[in-house]
């Protein structure tokens, strides 16, 4: 028999790169672990959802469940899209494994959701201590003005202030900002010693980092802290040498030094068609597939969402990103968060170099609830 898995993600449009990473992760996993589990063949169906669009997301999920008869749903890049699917899960008797969408609250919407990515709070929080350790007392935060940005701002502020620092100003920048020089001017005027930034990966990141260099903030010694979205590997070639020295925290670096990751990177590169396109969503997808495989194993091909989810609660394994486990209570992934510095490799290309590890981080966003 064939078990179908429906993957929803941004495979075209402005976020096509992230969608391609989903696909690469899925294909890498299947290439390395076979296309069947316990004799059940696995078939993956991709459905494109280019930008956040809950109505479309629901329509796609419904079609996958009702028409294509998928037993597992996976993928989902944006939070509202996940929110639109959760109400269907119970009736559909289908678990949803989230490969990316990073708002804490999704997990509370349905007991049939499992997440293998990260939350913004989870990747950001260690930065508070890191900043203080590096002698920074006053930080200005600059985040994109939307859900994840606001999450990042709050998480950093909490972590930084409890470590003894002070956020002197919090700037929220519209998502479609093209020229960041005025923001840099403001950062300079604030008198802060460092800037904490969050922007979604893509063209604006480039503008932000460029402006940081060009307006002389870097020369003036103002430090730069951010979660790893800002230096995702696929953006690094465009950022060029300007990114050297940027400090970011994240759950995964393509450069992560482990045998699991080597295998993964090799397989994923083959799937995506170019090493420079690979970045974090691929590992979310890879581990997502791992979870789905485990679910299939546990249910032996029968459609039983609750049993499937229960089977992976507490599951732990070694992911390309390092040791991880699914928190039995929140169903969210527990993982290491790494501090990385953008450095230049032997081949002259820049990469995220892991320099410090914060082991077994849960999602502080959920922990507080």
């Amino acid at each position: 028999d064939t078990i179908k898995v429906g993957i929803i993600g941004p495979f075209s449009g402005p976020f096509a790169l992230q969608g391609k990473n989903f696909q690469a992760g899925v294909e890498a996993y299947m290439a390395l672990n076979g296309k069947s589990v316990k004799g059940h063949d696995i078939e993956v169906i991709y459905r494109d959802l280019p930008t956040a669009n809950p109505a479309q997301s629901r329509a796609l999920a419904q079609e996958l469940v009702v028409k294509d008869k998928v037993q597992y749903l996976g993928g989902v890049y944006f939070t509202p899209d996940a929110m639109a699917i959760t109400p269907l899960l119970k009736q559909a008797n289908v678990p949803l494994v989230i490969f990316n969408a990073a708002t804490s609250a999704i997990m509370t919407q349905s007991p049939l959701v499992v997440r293998t990515s990260f939350t913004t709070a989870q990747t950001t929080s260690p930065l508070g201590k890191i900043a203080v350790d590096r002698g920074v007392k006053k930080v200005i935060s600059a985040v994109s003005d939307y859900g994840p940005g606001v999450d990042a701002e709050a998480a950093f502020k909490k972590a930084f202030e409890s470590a003894g620092g002070q956020v002197v100003e919090a700037i929220r920048m519209p998502l479609n900002t093209n020229d960041f020089s005025p923001i840099m001017q403001r950062i300079r005027d604030s008198g802060a010693e460092a800037v904490f930034a969050f922007l979604p990966s893509g063209p604006t990141t480039l503008g932000f980092v460029k402006a940081y260099n060009e307006t002389g903030l870097k020369q003036a010694g103002i430090k730069f802290f951010a979660p790893g979205d800002l230096t995702q590997e696929s953006d690094l070639p465009a950022l060029g040498d300007g990114a050297l020295g940027l400090l970011t925290t994240f759950h995964y670096a393509v450069s992560h030094d482990s045998p699991e990751n080597k295998k993964f990177v090799e397989a994923a590169t083959k799937a995506i068609g170019g090493a420079d396109q690979l970045s974090f969503p691929s590992v979310g997808a890879y581990d997502g597939m791992h979870v789905i495989y485990k679910m299939i194993e546990a249910t032996d091909g029968k459609q039983d969402a609750q049993k499937a989810v229960d089977a992976v609660k507490g599951l732990s394994w070694t992911s390309p990103r390092g040791p991880v486990s699914i928190d039995a209570e929140t169903r969210h992934i527990t993982e290491n968060i790494y501090l990385r510095e953008v450095a230049k490799g032997a081949d002259g290309k820049t990469y995220n170099k892991e320099i410090q590890t914060f082991p077994n981080q849960k999602d502080p966003g959920l922990a507080t609830q």
């Binding site: 495979f11 075209s12 449009g13 096509a16 969608g19 391609k20 696909q23 991709y46 459905r47 494109d48 930008t51 956040a52 669009n53 809950p54 109505a55 479309q56 629901r58 329509a59 796609l60 419904q62 079609e63 469940v65 009702v66 028409k67 939070t79 509202p80 899209d81 929110m83 639109a84 959760t86 109400p87 269907l88 009736q91 559909a92 708002t103 609250a105 919407q109 003005d145 939307y146 859900g147 994840p148 606001v150 519209p174």
Partner: protein, 322 residues
């Protein structure tokens, strides 16, 4: 007169028939079809001001979003009866239409188009900022709509939502048929062609167009409410420029100023998009682009124009020679 009545009747019956056929043919895609209906309402509303009044808008989603958020917020706060929610959406849409019309009708041509863009961006920004009420970019989730008439659940298979949407669409089309064939509708068409002439006939232009904006807002708001009810989530995309631009593309694709064009355009565009994106989720955009180009080359007046060209080809005069 009789003939016209008959034609309108036939049109409505055709819509119902198409709806029912869709139900039988694609029982597994009802959520998509419901979405098509919601968007069709948006495109219809755009046809009212663009096709009948000549006011092009790239911000029509403001009205759709107003309806969606109004219904969504009402639902989260305990008003869960679907018909009431639609009414709330329509009223919110109409109010937004009043606001949008008041601003947009101050300008002409391109500047007007840009006003519409500015308005939808401002709406979008406001919805993003008011995240306490709208959920911001995470979306407004947790809409628990009670069963329609207390009986029919909005469930996974989406039958209730679809039939409810279809009924709404039919009601709206019938009402709009009356609107566009009333003296008011004729006046709007006159304004579209030459407002100076209409003023010289002794009619103000602004209030007439504003009235149409309000009607248009109510229709779009209905669509928004339907989307909110059937999806149970309202996202920022429902007040976005992208949705507005898509609506305009669908309208022009179908043909302006006939109501049917709006429906045809929506169904063809969304259907095509759905099919090609399922076939190749990665590179379907090229196909949609090719479709648009092909339509312009083959039927510059939109698909309904094509139909008329075919009809017209029968009654060629003398021609034939080249």
């Amino acid at each position: 007169m009789g003939a016209r009545w008959l034609r309108d009747m036939a049109g409505v019956i055709l819509i119902i028939a198409a709806g029912v056929v869709g139900y039988w043919l694609f029982p597994d895609n009802l959520a998509l079809l419901t979405r098509v209906i919601a968007v069709a309402l948006l495109v219809l509303s755009l046809d009212l001001i663009t096709g009948y009044c000549g006011v092009a808008s790239l911000g029509q989603a403001s009205l759709f979003g107003a309806g969606a958020y109004a219904a969504g917020i009402a639902c989260v706060n305990g008003v869960t009866e679907p018909v009431t929610l639609v009414a709330i959406g329509a009223v919110a849409g109409a109010t937004a239409g009043l606001l949008m019309g008041t601003i947009m009708l101050r300008a002409h041509g391109l500047a007007q188009l840009v006003l519409s863009i500015a308005i939808v961006q401002l709406f979008h920004e406001a919805a993003n900022k008011a995240s306490a009420y709208t959920g911001g970019s995470d979306g407004l989730a947790g809409l628990m709509v009670s069963p329609l008439f207390g009986v029919f659940e909005f469930d996974l298979w989406g039958r209730t939502a679809y039939l409810f949407g279809l009924a709404l669409l039919v009601v709206v089309v019938v009402v709009l048929k009356f609107v566009v064939s009333s003296p008011f509708g004729m006046l709007c068409r006159g304004i579209k062609q030459d407002p100076v002439r209409i003023r010289a006939m002794g009619s103000y232009v602004f209030p007439v167009l504003l009235k149409m904006f309000v009607i248009s807002g109510a229709v779009a708001g209905t669509g928004g409410a339907l989307a909110a009810i059937s999806t149970q989530v309202v996202g920022l995309d429902s007040v976005s420029f992208e949705l507005s631009a898509n609506a305009l593309v669908m309208l022009v694709l179908g043909g302006l100023g006939t109501l049917y064009g709006a429906l045809v355009g929506t169904v063809i565009f969304m259907g095509f998009e759905h099919v090609v994106s399922a076939i190749n989720p990665f590179h379907w955009m090229t196909m949609v682009g090719a479709l648009l180009i092909a339509v312009v080359l083959a039927a510059p007046g939109g698909l309904t124009g094509l139909y008329e060209t075919f009809l017209g080809a029968g009654k060629r005069v003398k021609g034939g020679r080249t």
